[in-house]
């Protein structure tokens, strides 16, 4: 217990720096995952008889199966060695992380997250009432425009809480990228471990940090969810307007 407190109080700069990096990585991952997921979702839901739509349907299915059917760490290693062969990696650093390591990891995390988020988007889009699309078509919109202006804004509101939860998931899942040398929270822990030679206390401190990050963010998501639900109910905007005036 003494070791635990000593590490907690003595080495917090390492952990705080790692925690910051983990949040940045997860944030970039969730944004990349959302973009990638949306693209895959639209490919998956594309309807029509043309070869292009068939190809898109097929590709998205295979994509989702492959990324869900292989371990993240394997995907990371494949990206780590594979992506630099395809595109040159930039030199330099983001915060204190080497871009050479970081960029392939971020790409892999985004692609992986996209496979899960694609299904989230699909259910979010399907939850939008079918009448919305019909009404949009009836004012002369084409499907793409109706999707962009009417369906997706409503779907994104539907999936916002789930996307925030994906952020929490990524904070935990990205712990593995320390194996590839990216200086995240787990990597900071490795540094402290080699400085102090005490294993269990270090891992306990690490657990506390991860828990605080995830707990706080989950709570914030909970608040957001409540707020969104309240906004959906009729009459509320009027009330808030009056409240502002008063």
């Amino acid at each position: 217990m003494g070791d635990f407190l000593e590490i907690f109080t003595g080495y917090y700069p390492y952990y705080l720096q790692g925690a910051r990096n983990t949040i940045v990585i997860a944030l970039i991952g969730v944004v990349g995952g959302a973009l990638c997921g949306l693209l895959i979702c639209l490919m998956r839901m594309a309807k029509g008889k043309s070869i292009l739509t068939k190809l898109m349907n097929g590709f998205s299915r295979v994509y989702i199966e492959v990324f869900r059917g292989t371990p993240v760490i394997v995907q990371l290693w494949v990206a780590f060695f594979g992506i630099p062969l395809l595109i040159p990696m930039p030199a330099g650093k983001l915060l204190d992380m080497d871009l050479e390591c970081l960029v392939p990891c971020l790409i892999a995390i985004s692609l992986n997250s996209g496979a899960y988020v694609a299904e989230v988007f699909r259910s979010g889009i399907q939850a939008v009432d079918g009448g919305q699309m019909e009404a949009a078509l009836c004012v002369g919109m084409k499907k793409g425009m109706a999707m962009r202006l009417i369906i997706l804004p409503q779907a994104i509101k539907n999936v916002l809480p789930a996307l925030c939860n994906e952020f929490v998931t990524l904070i935990k899942e990205t712990a593995v990228i320390s194996y590839l040398g990216v200086a995240d929270l787990s990597y900071s822990n490795n540094v402290v471990k080699t400085l102090t030679y005490s294993m269990l206390p270090c891992y306990l401190v690490l657990a506390v940090y991860y828990f605080i990050l995830c707990f706080v963010i989950s709570r914030l998501v909970g608040l957001l969810e409540k707020r969104l639900n309240r906004e959906r109910k009729p009459g509320n905007r009027e009330m808030s307007k009056k409240a502002q005036a008063a």
Partner: protein, 243 residues
Amino acid sequence: MLIETRGLRKSFGGLQVLNGIDQSIEKGEVVVVIGPSGSGKSTFLRCLNLLEEPTGGQVIFEGTDITDPKADIAKIRQKMGMVFQQFNLFNNLSIMDNITVGPIRVKGVSREDAQAKANELLDRVGLREKADSFPGELSGGQKQRIAIVRALAMEPDVMLFDEPTSALDPEMVGEVLDVMKALAKEGMTMVIVTHEMGFAKEVGDRVLFIDQGIVLEEGTPEEIFNHPRNPRTQEFLSKVLNV
């Protein structure tokens, strides 16, 4: 002739809903479609703007066969306003944006012109003060009046109404019907699927009685409501008029 259907058929899976409908609707005409539920009257209406794709026959609108795969259906729908039973206002947009999104994004009207036109239409239905509200804040009757305004903002050549008052509380039916009556008086071409027999009698130029996917009987409101010839029409009317 504004709309013509030739041998219009529609089936869902194995279920034949429309069994060949030949109709022509003239400019300025108000056609009311009545019939028992499941008779195909809504499907008939939804085939007119291809929300349902007919499985047979043709729909000709202003001389163009819109069932032709080469027809630009989005362009054609700009000329056909539609009002739904469930209103289907865009939930993510304010009332003003609901009305102007079509004119601005689809027709390329300037924002100022679209809003001026929207305000003028909102005045006509007495809802100018709701311009900044959202659909969730409106009553059913108000939503439906806005839905009518949204369709009118596109300056359509015909308005299609799919049971516009069926989802409304009884005390709100009148306000929607009044707007529709005013439209009919102005000479708008209208095709209305409805259960409001009193309204059908008052504003209809022609009444179609649809049952089992065909037009069983048609005529003026006077003919259909006071002297129905077909036994099925008689049976239907005795059920709906004597409640």
